[in-house]
C-alpha cells in the first residue's frame, strides 16, 4: 500500500504509511474519531467596503472566485465541513496598505468593527486579528487601543513588509513596543515585495514571493534584536514559516559570523519560541522540515480560507507523522492557549 502525499492529492489515500513508525498506528486510528474542534488561525474575511476600495488590488489571476461571494456564512459552512470550531479572521495581502492614509485609517476601523460584529453574531465561532493603518504610528496605536480594549480583538494582523520595510525596521518600533506591553499575539501575513510582484509570467506572487517574504521579516525581527526586545509578543508566522525552516542553517551561521553584533539570545531561541501555522504547507515535505526546527507545540492549524479549505489542511496533516497528541495540539490545543477565550467554545 502506497500512502498518499498531500501533493499527490490522492483523496482517500490512507495514513497507514508502511514506513511510518509503527508505534503510531493504533493511536492514529483512535484519533480519526476526533475530527472537530479545530481553531483556524489563518482565515480571511472581506467586507463590502474593503472589497470596493481594494477591488482591483485584491484581484490576482488564479485566485478563488469565492472572494467576491464571501459572507460569514460561507466561512461557517467551510468550517463545519472541515471540523473547525473557531476561526481567528484577518485580512489577506494587501491588508489596508494602499490608498491615502485617511482611507487606511477608515478601512482598518471598519474592518475591525466588522470582524468584532462577526464574533458577536456567532459566539465562539470567530475571533479576529485587528488590522492597523501602518505606517501611521499614532493612528496604529489608537487602533490597537480601540481594537483590544473596546472590540476585544485576539491580536493584531501585520503584513510581512510595508513598502520594503520589514517588521524589525525602526519605523515599527513604537507599535511593537506597545504590543509587547500588552503581551499581544502578532499574526503576520505575507505580501510580496512590490518589485517582485510580476517577476515571471504565469507565476503569481503567492507561489514563491509570499514564502520568502515571511522569511525576510523573521530575519528582520531576529537580527535587529526586535524579537529579543519583545519577548512577550507571541508571533505567528504563516505557511510554516515561509521558507525559514529550510534555510535555518543560514540563520544560525549568520549569527556566528565575525562582525555581526551579538544577539541578546541565540537565534534558535527566538525561532523556537515563534508559532508557525500550517496553511498551504500541511504536507510532509514542508512539515518534516518544520518539525526539525520546532516541537508540535509551536505549530498551529491554519487554512488560508477562502483560497484553501479546512478539509484540505486537516487531511494534509493526517498524512504527516504526528502522534495523536501532537495533532490534537496542532488542531486546537496550542491555539486554545494563545486564545483562552475560545477554550470552552
Amino acid at each position: 500500500v502506497i500512502a498518499g502525499c498531500p501533493c499527490c492529492l490522492s483523496p482517500r489515500a490512507t495514513a497507514r504509511a508502511p514506513l511510518a513508525r509503527s508505534r503510531k498506528a493504533p493511536a492514529r486510528r483512535k484519533a480519526r474519531g476526533n475530527d472537530s474542534g479545530r481553531i483556524d488561525v489563518h482565515h480571511h474575511f472581506l467586507t463590502p467596503d474593503y472589497l470596493a476600495a481594494a477591488g482591483p488590488l485584491y484581484d490576482s489571476p488564479g485566485t478563488n472566485s469565492l472572494r467576491s461571494q464571501w459572507t460569514p456564512q460561507v466561512s461557517l459552512d467551510s468550517m463545519d465541513e472541515g471540523g473547525v470550531r473557531t476561526s481567528i479572521v484577518s485580512l489577506s495581502s494587501p491588508g489596508v496598505w494602499f490608498g491615502e492614509p485617511a482611507l487606511r485609517r477608515r478601512l482598518a476601523r471598519e474592518c475591525n468593527e466588522y470582524a468584532a460584529r462577526m464574533a458577536a453574531d456567532h459566539p465562539g465561532r470567530f475571533g479576529f486579528f485587528a488590522a492597523l493603518p501602518l505606517p501611521d504610528i499614532d493612528a496604529s496605536l489608537a487602533e490597537i487601543e480601540y481594537s483590544f480594549d473596546t472590540l476585544h480583538s485576539d491580536g493584531v494582523g501585520l503584513l510581512t513588509n510595508l513598502d520594503g520595510r520589514y517588521l524589525g525596521d525602526p519605523v515599527f518600533r513604537p507599535v511593537l513596543d506597545e504590543l509587547e506591553r500588552r503581551k499581544a499575539v502578532v499574526y503576520t501575513h505575507p505580501t510580496p515585495l512590490e518589485a517582485t510582484r510580476n517577476l515571471q509570467p504565469g507565476i503569481p506572487a503567492s507561489a514563491i514571493e509570499f514564502g520568502t517574504d515571511t522569511t525576510r521579516t523573521i530575519a528582520s525581527l531576529v537580527f535587529t534584536g526586535t524579537a529579543a526586545r519583545t519577548p512577550n509578543v507571541r508571533y505567528i508566522f504563516s505557511h510554516a514559516g515561509g521558507t525559514l525552516p529550510f534555510l535555518v542553517e543560514r540563520f544560525t551561521r549568520l549569527a556566528r559570523r565575525p562582525g555581526v553584533p551579538p544577539l541578546p539570545r541565540p537565534v534558535l531561541f527566538e525561532l523556537r519560541r515563534f508559532y508557525y501555522e500550517v496553511a498551504q504547507a500541511a504536507n510532509r515535505v514542508a512539515l518534516a522540515s518544520l518539525a526539525e526546527l520546532v516541537p508540535a507545540s509551536r505549530m498551529l492549524f491554519g487554512t488560508d480560507f477562502p483560497y484553501r479549505t479546512a478539509r484540505e489542511m486537516a487531511d494534509g496533516l493526517k498524512k504527516c507523522d504526528f502522534t495523536p497528541t501532537e495533532r490534537s495540539a496542532i488542531d486546537r490545543g496550542n491555539a486554545a492557549k494563545l486564545f483562552p477565550r475560545f477554550k470552552g467554545a
Binding site: I2, A3, G4, C5, P6, C7, C8, L9, A17, P18, L19, A20, G62, G164, Y166, G168, L193, A195, T196, L199, Q200, G202, I203, S206, A207, I208, G211, T212, T215, R216, A219, S220, F223, T224, H239, A240, T243, P245, F246, L247, V248, E249, R250, F251, L254, P261, Q280, A281, A282, N283, R284, V285, A286, L287, A288, S289, A291, E292, L293, D321
Partner: protein, 336 residues
C-alpha cells in the same frame, strides 16, 4: 524526523530507498573509514580574468589552486567540478565573451595541471545567446567541459525565458549538465540591514529559476538536459505545495504532460549550505537519494563542514556513499 514519504521518495519499497532514520539511530563516524573519494559539484575557483572585473571579498582574493587542493585532501574530496566564484560582473559586460573564454581556458588548464582533481562547468556570456552558443561549442568540443554554469537569473530574465531557448536546445542536443547557481537579483539587494543577500535571496532565486524552467515547459520539452540546482533546491522543496497547485492550472498543465513532480524529481540537487536536517528531511520527502549530490560552495564553506553536516542528517552508509560519489559518477563518468 518524518519517515520517508512513499510517494515522493519513489523508490520506497526497496533497497534503494532513502532511509532517513530517526535521530537516535545515527551512528558515530568511524575514524578508520576509507576515504569517501567525494566528488564536489559546487566548488568555486577564481580565474584571474574574472577577478580583474572587480573587487572580491578577502578570502576570494587570496584563493589559489593549492588552497582548494588542501581543503579537498583534508576532507577526502577526490574531484571538484569547478565554476567561477560569482557571475554577476560578467552578465552584460561588454567583454563578456572574452572573459568567459579566458575563464574556461583557465579552468581547463587547472584540470590538466592536476589530473583527476578538477572538472569544469564552463562559463557562458549570458544573456548574449550568440556568444553562449559559440562558447558552448568551444567549451565542449575543445576543452571537454563537464557541463555549463549559469546564474539562476539575468536581470529579470529567468532560465525559462524564451530568449534563452536556443541555448537550452543546443545543450539538450549535447545531453549536457547545467549547474544553476543562485545570485541576488538587483531588486532584492539590501532589503534588511545586516542580512546579506545569500542568506535568503539565493534560495528564493533558485526556486524562481526552477519554476521558470518547469512552468515555461522548458524542462519537459528538453528531457536530456540535466540540471543541478544548488543548496538542495533553494527553497523549492519547502514550498512544493505551491508548485503542485500551480501545475493544475490549465496553461501550466498543458506544458507538463508528465506532471510537475516528474520534472522536479528528475533534477539534481547539491547539498552545500543545506547539509542539515531542516533541508535534507524535506528534500528527501521529494526526491530519491540518487538525485542528491555532494557540494561544498568552497571557498565560502569547506568540504569538512558539509561532510560533517551530512553525517548528522541520518543517512545510512549506502546513501551517504551515493551522495558523496556514486551519484556524481553517473553524471561525470570520466572521473571514475
Amino acid at each position: 524526523m518524518f519517515a520517508p514519504c512513499p510517494c515522493f521518495a519513489a523508490a520506497s519499497r526497496g533497497r534503494t530507498a532513502a532511509r532517513i532514520a530517526p535521530r537516535p539511530a545515527k551512528r558515530p563516524a568511524k575514524a578508520s573509514k576509507p576515504s569517501p573519494q567525494r566528488i564536489d559539484v559546487h566548488h568555486h575557483i577564481v580565474p584571474p580574468a574574472y577577478k580583474a572585473l572587480g573587487p572580491a571579498r578577502d578570502f576570494v582574493a587570496t584563493w589559489t589552486p593549492e588552497m582548494a587542493l588542501e581543503d579537498m585532501d583534508k576532507a577526502g574530496t577526490a574531484t571538484a567540478i569547478t565554476c567561477i566564484y560569482a557571475g554577476s560582473a560578467l552578465a552584460g559586460h561588454p567583454e563578456a565573451r572574452r572573459v568567459a573564454r579566458e575563464c574556461n581556458d583557465y579552468a581547463a588548464q587547472l584540470g590538466r595541471d592536476y589530473p583527476g582533481r578538477f572538472g569544469m562547468f564552463a562559463t557562458l556570456p549570458f544573456p548574449d545567446v550568440e556568444g553562449c552558443l559559440a562558447e558552448i561549442e568551444y567549451a565542449f568540443d575543445v576543452l571537454e567541459a563537464d557541463g555549463v554554469y549559469t546564474q539562476t537569473s539575468y536581470g529579470r530574465q529567468y532560465l525559462g525565458d524564451p530568449a534563452f531557448a536556443p541555448v537550452w536546445e543546443e545543450l539538450n542536443r549535447r545531453k549536457s549538465i547545467v549547474f544553476a547557481h543562485p545570485h541576488t537579483p538587483e531588486v532584492c539587494e539590501d532589503l534588511i540591514p545586516g542580512v546579506p543577500g545569500p542568506i535568503i535571496e539565493y534560495g528564493t532565486d533558485t526556486t524562481r529559476a526552477i519554476a521558470s524552467l518547469v512552468f515555461s515547459g522548458t524542462a519537459s520539452r528538453l528531457p536530456d538536459l540535466r540540471f543541478i540546482f544548488c543548496h538542495a533546491g533553494g527553497t523549492m522543496p519547502f514550498i512544493i505545495e505551491r508548485f503542485t497547485r500551480l501545475a493544475k492550472r490549465k496553461d501550466h498543465a498543458e506544458k507538463l504532460p508528465k506532471g510537475v513532480l516528474h520534472e522536479l524529481k528528475r533534477f539534481y540537487y547539491e547539498c552545500a549550505q543545506a547539509a542539515h536536517p531542516g533541508a535534507m528531511s524535506s528534500l528527501l520527502q521529494l526526491v530519491k537519494v540518487s538525485q542528491i549530490l555532494f557540494g561544498t560552495d568552497f571557498p565560502y564553506r569547506t568540504a569538512g563542514d558539509i561532510a560533517g553536516g551530512l553525517a548528522k542528517c541520518g543517512f545510512d552508509d549506502k546513501a551517504l556513499q551515493a551522495i558523496h560519489r556514486g551519484n556524481a559518477l553517473r553524471l561525470f563518468p570520466r572521473f571514475r
